[in-house]
């Protein structure tokens, strides 16, 4: 592939998709900095893992499909993997944080302290 003969429309599309994805990811990570509690912050980076990575990987697919002159969909594997694993990890993490907050500082949950039930797992 000679880089000098890229058509202009391809350049515009790939660049715009990549910048849009990167911008969305940046907004999600700024949410990590700005939001106040952990339960707010856990929502923020999903902006980058869903639409942000989707757009960047779409840019990669478009670029390699046009320059390689054959369908290039193996990047879809990354997107599929990220989409499948992010909810799993964040749910595990939220459950762990909830467990810790119930034990250690129930005020962070906005509950009355009497509602605390410390129940160790049966193991």
């Amino acid at each position: 592939m000679s880089a000098a003969e890229l058509p202009l429309w391809l350049v515009i599309i790939v660049g715009a998709l990549a910048i849009a994805g990167a911008l969305l990811t940046l907004i999600g990570c700024l949410g990590l900095v700005r939001l106040n509690s952990f339960y707010d912050r856990i929502h923020a980076p999903t902006l980058g893992t869903s639409l942000g990575s989707g757009l960047i990987i779409l840019a990669s697919i478009v670029f390699f499909t046009v320059t390689g002159q054959r369908p290039s969909v193996h990047e879809m594997l990354i997107f599929l993997f990220v989409t499948l694993t992010t909810p799993v990890t964040l749910m595990l993490l939220a459950r762990a944080a909830l467990y810790r907050d119930r034990v250690e500082n129930p005020e962070a949950l906005g509950h009355r302290p009497v509602a605390v039930a410390v129940k160790p797992a049966a193991d």
Binding site: V11, A18, A22, L30, F38, F64, L77, V82
Partner: protein, 93 residues
């Protein structure tokens, strides 16, 4: 000419992702509790993976794609292990 435009657009995207990584790193350093740090670490590896995908577009090779896939795989395993550690205090029971 168009290759130049593509190079600079992708560089801008990489700078934006680097800023996102800096934001996540700020939360890792500052984060009041361990779960904040783990969420930020998760965001950090996803951003690193996206930077590698853009490096792949920039160079026109598919080597970076495989690196990105491995980063995604190992990052998932790491985050799950850390969440499990927060839950129980040990990773393998």
């Amino acid at each position: 000419m168009s290759a130049q435009i593509l190079f600079w657009m992708l560089t801008i995207a990489q700078v934006l992702l680097a800023l996102a990584m800096a934001a996540a790193a700020y939360r890792i350093i500052k984060g009041p509790r361990a779960q904040d740090r783990i969420v930020s670490l998760d965001a950090l590896y996803v951003n690193a993976m996206l930077v590698l995908v853009i490096f792949g577009i920039k160079t026109g090779t598919t080597v970076y794609y495989e690196v990105a896939l491995i980063v995604g795989l190992l990052g998932f395993v790491g985050t799950v292990a850390l969440a499990k550690f927060l839950m129980r205090g040990e990773v393998i029971e």
